[in-house]
């Protein structure tokens, strides 16, 4: 049955009753969540908790993109997956777990590698995009696709004991390219397979990505200045927030005279792609 976009069903009222009690959410906020669609790119360490909480809290439509299969070495952090799904598609494993938790969340899976040929088509149908990927080339790709489509981007990352969280392309704030106009050297792009990560670090960041999605979907985010949240297992305090620049008029993609007006070859741009392990991982 089609749900009325302005009314919660009795089942929704029962299930989300503890959120309806909060004045900042209430029926209006819960309806906004249900009428929102979110694309989570990557169902690994960040995407696992993020997608799980988005489905739990009542996001209406959830897309999941991943081309990878579950490996045993994923399970210390990718808690959406199971031992039984090792060797099988991550998006199918993810959607199986999510559907156990909630049948109210409409899910769509994309068992593909996001690239310049498919990114705009896939991203285009969503209100909010979550970057839960693990390499620079895909991060630039997602950023540019979001800017070109006018969609806010909730970007998280986690390596070793550290995590970072930023919302890009929203409310006068910067995009990923405004902050990082030049890609890092290929040997500098550590990902979790090469340098490791403590399981709960992407857990924390992935949960916070889900929180940022709620803020965006309910309209709260407009009151906030652009910032980057830094997290480290090692630091005291564990969290710090730094203030970011606004959108840069000279940005190649979101600036006043953009030079990037359609998606480019991001593997060439970065000198390394999503499947390349950095051959000699050096300092950073």
């Amino acid at each position: 049955a089609q749900k009325a976009s302005d009314r919660l069903t009795n089942e929704e009222i029962r299930r989300y009753s503890r959120q309806l009690l909060i004045p900042e959410v209430g029926t209006e906020g819960q309806l906004k969540l249900r009428n929102s669609s979110v694309l989570v790119v990557g169902t690994g360490g960040l995407g696992s908790p993020c997608a799980l909480y988005l489905a739990a809290m009542g996001i209406g439509r959830l897309g999941l993109v991943d081309h990878d299969v579950v490996d045993q070495s994923n399970l210390h952090r990718q808690v959406l997956h199971t031992e039984a799904s090792c060797g099988f598609s991550k998006v199918l494993s993810a959607v199986t777990s999510i559907s156990r938790l909630s049948s109210l969340c409409e899910t769509k899976v994309y068992d593909v590698l996001l690239d310049s040929t498919n990114a705009r088509d896939i991203i285009g149908g969503y209100d909010i995009v979550v970057d839960a990927t693990d390499n620079a080339a895909t991060r630039y790709l997602i950023n540019d696709a979001c800017v070109l489509s006018g969609i806010p981007l909730v970007s998280g990352s986690a390596v070793r004991l550290d995590g970072q969280l930023t919302v890009y392309n929203h409310n006068g704030g910067p995009c990923y390219r405004c902050l990082f106009p030049t890609p890092p050297a290929p040997d500098a792009m550590a990902n979790c397979s090469e340098t490791g990560v403590l399981g709960v670090v992407p857990g924390v960041i992935g949960c916070l990505q889900a929180m940022e999605v709620v803020k965006l979907a309910t309209g709260r985010k407009v009151n906030e200045d652009p910032s980057m949240l830094l997290f480290s297992y090692r630091s005291q305090p564990h969290f710090r927030s730094v203030k970011l620049r606004g959108r840069k008029p000279t940005c190649a993609v979101c600036g006043d005279e953009p030079t990037v007006t359609k998606l480019i070859d991001y593997v060439a741009f970065c000198g390394a792609g999503p499947n390349d392990d950095a051959p000699q991982w050096k300092l950073l």
């Binding site: 990557g42 690994g44 360490g45 960040l46 995407g47 839960a132 990927t133 693990d134 390499n135 620079a136 991060r139 998280g156 990352s157 986690a158 390596v159 070793r160 550290d162 995590g163 970072q164 902050l179 990082f180 106009p181 030049t182 890609p183 890092p184 050297a185 500098a188 792009m189 550590a190 990902n191 979790c192 340098t195 990560v197 992407p202 980057m228 830094l230 480290s232 090692r234 630091s235 005291q236 710090r240 927030s241 730094v242 203030k243 970011l244 620049r245 840069k248 050096k282 300092l283 950073l284």
Partner: protein
Amino acid sequence: MSKLAVTLRFVSGAELLIKDEFRAQSNKKSGDLEFKHEVPAGTEEAPLRMKELIEHVRDNLVKGDKDQFYKDGKLRPGILVIINGSDWEVEDGPEYKVQADDVIEFISTLHGG
């Protein structure tokens, strides 16, 4: 030349670029690589600017290949500079005049997930 004491912090991987000797000076309570450091203060006509501070860091603090930190007048891509809690582009970027007791932070961007 007179000196200026600032706090330097290197995090999210940027700490791996810095000589081990500075680890010993690091604030133990913070957990990060964070220490007070004296830099030449410059003069009234030519006060110390961020770009000179960065060159000072490159010449005195960075270990191994200096180009890993700063090359051709540019900081290595993927490092954010934060001055007293704000992105240096909110301040004057490389032209910012360094003040005593500033907290200047170098953050390496992370790509993993």
